[in-house]
């Protein structure tokens, strides 16, 4: 018998995969729209 926490976890993973697939489908099954295009300077974020 599956425990509740395991059921919730598996449901969340399933929902997540469905959402990711939907989003990927909306992008035309191409990864290009999700690639980083910004100009953020990480040296400024981690400027020790």
């Amino acid at each position: 018998m599956l425990k509740n926490w395991l059921k919730i976890s598996l449901c969340m993973i399933l929902v997540g995969i469905i959402l990711m697939t939907v989003s990927f489908g909306m992008a035309g099954f191409k990864s290009q729209p999700f690639q980083y295009r910004g100009t953020h300077e990480w040296s400024r974020t981690f400027n020790f």
């Binding site: 395991l6 976890s9 969340m12 997540g16 469905i18 989003s23 909306m26 992008a27 729209p33 999700f34």
Partner: protein, 197 residues
């Protein structure tokens, strides 16, 4: 009681109490009875006049124990101290190695729950933050990206929850296992100490 019965009973009592000079005691009473038999007394008369084997052994047992403790204890202490100092480079390193192995064993056993906790915390906390922030991502970057982030967040929280549950069960089992193995180790150590003492 005959002479043979008396000697047998005396020998049994001496063995039972672990008297060190049992042979001398038996020889002494054997000769004493023989001498008095030669003098004309009967076995029954002689044995009736003597203390019972239990009484003889009880009288011998107390001083014997005291003498043994007084004589043996300082010698044993000196010998054990000498051997301990002399063998320190050997037993010291061996003891240290044994302690390190035991500590490493515990560390390895608890590495699983430790890693599980880290994965659970990272998954649940990171996923939750990402889930909330995906709304703002939608406003700024577009809903396609936001849905992807939402999906990743759901997977992260789900994996985190699985890790948390697995860690919970693993910890419960390992607590019992650790207590059992610690009791076994302590028991083994105590029995070794008893043998040495």
């Amino acid at each position: 009681m005959t002479k043979n019965q008396f000697i047998k009973q005396l020998a049994a009592e001496l063995t039972r109490y672990g008297i060190s000079d049992a042979a001398n005691t038996i020889d002494y009473y054997d000769e004493l009875i023989d001498d008095r038999l030669e003098a004309g007394e009967t076995e029954a008369e002689i044995i009736a006049s003597l203390a019972t084997p239990a009484q003889i052994v009880a009288q011998l047992a107390i001083p014997d124990k005291q003498v043994r403790q007084k004589k043996m204890a300082p010698m044993l202490i000196i010998l054990i101290s000498f051997l301990l100092v002399l063998g320190a480079p050997l037993w010291g390193t061996l003891l240290l190695t044994a302690i390190i192995i035991v500590v490493l064993g515990y560390f390895l056993i608890w590495l699983g729950p430790f890693l599980g906790t880290i994965f659970a915390a990272a998954g649940i906390l990171g996923g939750s933050v990402s889930l909330i922030l995906s709304f703002f991502v939608g406003l700024q970057e577009g809903w396609m990206i936001a849905i992807m982030q939402l999906g990743i967040s759901f997977v992260m929280v789900g994996v985190g929850l699985i890790c948390a549950g697995a860690t919970w069960y693993m910890t419960k089992y390992l607590i019992r296992f650790s207590v059992g193995i610690t009791r076994w180790l302590v028991g083994m150590f105590r029995s070794r100490l008893k043998v040495v003492a």
